[in-house]
Subunit: 211 residues, 2 copies
DNA sequence: TAGATTGTTAATCGATTAACAATC
DNA sequence: TAGATTGTTAATCGATTAACAATC
């Protein structure tokens, strides 16, 4: 698919939400939707929806609206959900284990091919049919299997070193649950930071405002 | 603390990140920082930092900059991290368990006082020194203990019903890990949605752009 | 005092909303 | 054809950046 280049990050952030709502409509066997109707359901304006979608092409039909199934599939393509990116999970503590078990990576274009932890006692334990490997083997494993994405469920103080290592080993994208901000030093690497602590602090602030 | 009213959500979203960086400076025994220096470290502009902070008051000193410890504590106050909000965790599956175990709620102004799940087999299991209770007891528990916040680690199809119930029981804030968007129907309720699937789809998109 | 850096106002830039002609 | 709704351009609104006077 051709590079679409400079689409605003705000639009991109909304794309998965569109996809989620379209999936729901599809499940409810609704096969047609107008920007106006979708706007009401999503709490947006019709204008914004049309502007957003038109960053990627004209998916609608005048006088009719959008075909749900078609639009859903188009967005899936734009998001790359049809891919199967080889992915390593680093950090098999509570959070790493939960993510690995709870999450259907295949649905989102990823495939976990290896799980690593530096804790000796975890080595050999089975998570999602995969043995936990010791971090010493990470380098060779990556050379042999060439994963392109990594999930980091490790503490802040290990994140810098591990992410540098992984970048050198060819990892292009990080799903980062540590508190360390990877993106700052690396331009051509994709990073999604899931800062749970930032999220709960925002909730705390907003709770203050209500009282 | 007086209500500051209409501070932009974008500023609020940045506040926890300021706090995180200030904590780091504090740990490194740096006790003074200028907006220019902080801007470099955070990848922002000095202007933006000064504008952001001045939404809440003048924390700096001309010719000097900001006192790290002082600013950190001010932001902690603004975020309400000093509180201890009684909180229930609903959903004790993989994710709920990981969150409960992995996360230092006290640091962020929350305190888990009860864990609930509708699965009979989990009842009585101990998480973080607390027994998992069956969801049937949620209503009475809330009447007796008056929690004001809830963490939802339940599937989408249960989220609507449970969130409605909890709102009626006086819950004012949700940390929502389900795919259901609570906020849409309720105005005076604070919601932080952690949509992990949205996050990984954004990563997928950004990976596509790199290739 | 002179130098540095803030707080704040003004200028720019980008994102959202509104409007409407094109068209199914 | 008439009605509906898109794609797209123009207007508005808000957020970021730049500039500078105030002041520590």
């Amino acid at each position: 698919m051709a590079t679409r280049g400079g689409v605003s990050p705000l639009v991109i952030k909304r794309l998965p939400r569109y996809y989620r709502f379209l999936e729901n409509l599809s499940k409810k066997n609704i096969n047609r939707i107008s920007s106006g109707e979708l706007a009401i359901r999503m709490g947006l304006t019709a204008s914004q929806i049309r502007q957003d979608l038109n960053c990627f092409g004209g998916f609608g039909q005048q006088g009719f609206g959008y075909n749900v199934e078609e639009l859903k599939n188009s967005i899936a393509g734009i998001l790359g959900l049809n891919k199967s990116r080889k992915t390593v999970l680093v950090g098999a503590g509570n959070l790493g284990r939960a993510i690995a078990t709870h999450f259907d990576f295949g649905k989102f274009g990823f495939k976990i091919i290896g799980v690593f932890d530096k804790k000796e006692s975890l080595a050999g334990q089975i998570i999602n049919d995969m043995p936990v490997r010791h971090t010493v083997g990470l380098e060779n494993f990556c050379r042999d299997n060439k994963p392109t994405a990594a999930i980091l469920c490790i503490p802040e103080n290990e994140a810098e070193e591990i992410s540098e290592l992984l970048i050198n080993l060819g990892i292009k994208g990080f799903w980062n649950f540590s508190h360390y901000d990877i993106a700052i030093n690396h331009k051509d690497i994709a990073v999604e930071n899931v800062h749970l602590s930032d999220s709960i602090m925002t909730l705390s602030y907003n709770l203050n405002e209500i009282e």
